[in-house]
Symmetry: C2
Subunit: 221 residues, 2 copies
């Protein structure tokens, strides 16, 4: 095996030139976790898929739990960075008071973009969705404790619809996030069977429009 394969050099993260092995483990683990769930994937599965030694996970990440947390932190940070950027741009366009639909678009567009069939982060989104509900206690604690990112959106929604009670806004944000987190492969498959092939999640632009239409109308109820 050559120390730096072509696959690794294309997969490498932009900023830092970390050890190739660490990235191989990271990518393989993310994929396997996303496809089969955290508990159903062993360290041996990961290292075998990555083509590295069994001890690599503990050497580079400390433990299997820490590896999961590492992936989760990086991907959620990426996702929230894209969301914050879109929300910031919407604020700039509307003197700090963007309309409802643009706030919702800033929340939903990044993950929906990741969902595109040829998108580099397609599997990452599935990972994040799974880790949210199947993750370790540490992840669950972060989700419950750190709501700072979400608060930016709830604030924007409160400003966009000052006529609504805060209670209504929080619940409707909750509903919207529920719609989003339901975008798992298995759910798409189920929907596809039900609709007998009339629904295609490949058209993520169309799906985003549908979600925005639904959520916006829900907020305006």
């Amino acid at each position: 095996m050559s120390p730096t394969t072509d696959a690794a050099s294309t997969e490498v993260e932009a900023a830092e030139t970390e050890a190739a092995t660490k990235n191989l483990v990271f990518v393989a683990a993310e994929r396997l976790f996303a496809l089969h769930g955290f508990q159903n994937v062993s360290v041996r599965d990961i290292t075998a898929a990555a083509g590295v030694n069994l001890a690599s996970v503990n050497y580079h990440f400390g433990s299997k739990d820490a590896l999961l947390f590492d992936i989760f932190k990086r991907r959620t940070a990426e996702l929230n960075r894209e969301r914050a950027k879109m929300l910031h741009e919407a604020n700039d366009r509307h003197d700090g008071n963007p309309p409802l639909r643009e706030v919702l678009a800033a929340l939903l567009t990044p993950p929906l973009r990741w969902l595109a069939p040829d998108h580099e982060r397609r599997i990452s989104l599935q990972f994040v969705i799974r880790a949210r509900s199947e993750g370790t206690d540490e992840i669950r604690n972060v989700l419950k404790t750190d709501v700072s990112h979400l608060r930016r959106f709830s604030d924007a929604l409160l400003r966009a619809r000052p006529d609504l009670s805060p209670e209504d806004v929080y619940w409707r944000l909750h509903f919207t996030l529920g719609m989003l987190h339901n975008n798992r492969f298995a759910e798409f498959d189920r929907l596809n069977v039900l609709s007998e092939g009339q629904t295609s999640e490949a058209d993520v632009v169309g799906l985003l429009e549908r979600m925005l239409d639904f959520a916006e109308a829900g907020f305006n109820a």
Copy 2:
């Protein structure tokens, strides 16, 4: 230990007088699975919580997987029976063409009722939601294959809104189910932190109204 405790006689299922041990295992397993997830609960945890022998799970259910599947089958059957009854009654009231909101109510009311703090099936609903995404391959296969119950609702929705394209109806049903499946304890906790205590899931009647308002408006978008 007396062979038939008071707790067991109140927990016993209506129709059949099954072995007390089997019911103890069933109830304990459902609770632990709902609270901690299937993979995080061992057969030893279950039998210890139920106060029965370790071998009881395999003797009465065959295997741990079969136990999970058994609970899942019974609870989803109960849930779908209640839903079908409500849909049937709505059909009777409106000559087979109930309005949109009543169809959605038939879909959402049973699980929301189960969510009430003092409801006997509160933990069962959490179990079902978890089993949907964390279950075994067998459960996942049933979910994907058997959409007959869901089809009754998609048909009713198509009839209630014949102006909408089937594609729209299927997607909006998908969104509505996403809202519903997001009703996990952890998500309520998160929302409660975000809203600083302004949201209370204890008021399930109010929550049902909120969900119906949101979903109905989404369908009418």
